[in-house]
Symmetry: C2
Subunit: 371 residues, 2 copies
Amino acid sequence: MSSSKGPDYTSRLKRLRARFDDAGIDGLIVSSRENVRYLLGFAGSAGWVLITRNDCIFFTDSRYIGHARATIPVGRVYLASDGLVEAAAELSTKSSCAMCGFEGDNLTHSVAVRLRDKLDGMKSTCKLQSTERIVDRLRMTKDEDELRLIQKAATLADGALEHVRAVIRPGMTELQAAWEVEKWLRENGSGPIPFDIIAASGANSALPHSEAGPRELQVGDPIVFDLGARIGGYCSDLSRTLFLGEPDAQMRRVYDVVLKAQRTAMRDVGSGMSAAAADGLARTVITAEGYADYFGHGLGHGVGLAIHEYPAVSARSTDTLEDMMVFTVEPGIYVPGVGGVRIEDTVVLRDGSAWQLTRADKDDPVVPLRW
Amino acid sequence: MSSSKGPDYTSRLKRLRARFDDAGIDGLIVSSRENVRYLLGFAGSAGWVLITRNDCIFFTDSRYIGHARATIPVGRVYLASDGLVEAAAELSTKSSCAMCGFEGDNLTHSVAVRLRDKLDGMKSTCKLQSTERIVDRLRMTKDEDELRLIQKAATLADGALEHVRAVIRPGMTELQAAWEVEKWLRENGSGPIPFDIIAASGANSALPHSEAGPRELQVGDPIVFDLGARIGGYCSDLSRTLFLGEPDAQMRRVYDVVLKAQRTAMRDVGSGMSAAAADGLARTVITAEGYADYFGHGLGHGVGLAIHEYPAVSARSTDTLEDMMVFTVEPGIYVPGVGGVRIEDTVVLRDGSAWQLTRADKDDPVVPLRW
């Protein structure tokens, strides 16, 4: 276990460079905000990094240059006075790079074209190549420091769920309930939350990504809460479905099926398993109970500096699950026009098995009525 | 003035189609989240639209399909069961499009390549062309309904500034001050705020995009607050610099120069002026006072569904300012290691001149000390 001295950026750069040969590059322009933060700790909205075999140059505009000079822990800092694309072209040309990668899954088509044109215009000897997921793959497995932050964010999410469970009552709107969650998170240590909190009640709960709205909670409603906290940049993700008073028999059965599917998936998922097979663990249970058509999304997604990152945990994923990966397990059943249930935990694989990071109660979804 | 029946989506599509000839396209795949919202009102995170001369097809995945079917006001809704790229290729091939644009300034390089490959693989007769800013340009000039929402968001920002002015005191941290602003905004009607609130005190104020941090406010500090609200999707943007007790002579002078520059720009900016010339209005004042090197960013940016949109108001902008454009006027002077001042209002051009939408006080930046 590492002590908590903060991220080991030097080792991250080393792991990145070790991937250069396989990718057929000898330099990489990193533009994704989360990837820049992962490599150098810079959290601003505009700053790229050129990493070559021997150099690491962070470049940003005048708004951030002072902050960057004061905080970037490794390599050099360069003022991109004519823009990031111009600086990237200039710096990669000046470097000894023969084949420089860029993040094709992050740069827009227009920016990639401008970068290529710029290098052509300079008659640069540096060639450009689109790459995908090079840094993102490094980010899939977490170190102990990252895990500690995600665990803190997960525990905060649990606390917020407990809070909202204690305050919801008939007549409160979805928006008020969502704000109760957000305010609790922020006042108990969360940074800006990673996504708009979902509080989807009644028939709205059948829409997996319903925004919280003006609908008032009613007796018997299922209410899907989907929320996350952020600590030191790292996210957590938690969903629970509550019932405001006793649900009807149909929704109670749906709840029990989702819970069984979720527990089965968490019990059986393991390191070395394909993410596609993991998706099947919950889907098999839901299909056997006759709800196959009502579970239209994947089982989950990686969680870290981004709320949605690799591994993808879905039927189409090509990822393989490994120790120290953090991801969500979140099956759901959505009956159109009636209601839906989703139960989601953030988990980490350790010693081959899934360990829950979020631990909010799910045995008893019924919230007693109060006015 | 239109009555408030909500956005006229039919007219927006008509204005968009009127641009097709100039762009050399007979169809457009719109993927930018704000552009999709502008055209059809859909606010979810995954959904694209294909607009042809005679058709408008919104497509999304299973998470959003129920919501989309219930709410999309014009055209057709299609379930993209194999993904958005696959649906875009299929729908544009089935349409009568000969040359279909995509948003090159929004799609990533990788997605654009996949879309092209998909069409090639289908031996589609539809050709693809990268376009930029077609819908974004429509969004530059606002209608009365949009303006009403931005005005509401601006008034909320004013209220939050007044609130934080009343509660800051020595010893409060930047993070606490920023949270006071955010909580006030959310509890007084703002949706999720458009950007993390800046509360940059002391020497941090010299960093234009400093995040709020644990630093405690101190007597004599300049504190730059930069904040915005969101109403019905529309943003406002407001910066004020306050002093906690009397500032020293240097910072007082900096304040007066920035205020003079900001007032000059707001007085002299007008419809028909190039945005680059508008940038020069404040810069000339700041240069004449000897601070040219300390104003490293542009004068402002458009504000609407996005917090940063067109027109760009900077020395390099090629935009021309017109009536019903909404943008910020925000000169600043940042003295490294010492402190900075930024004063920003959101304005609209009407009848040729700028009208302030944000109106928080700036005559008296000194906040009396209290403990």
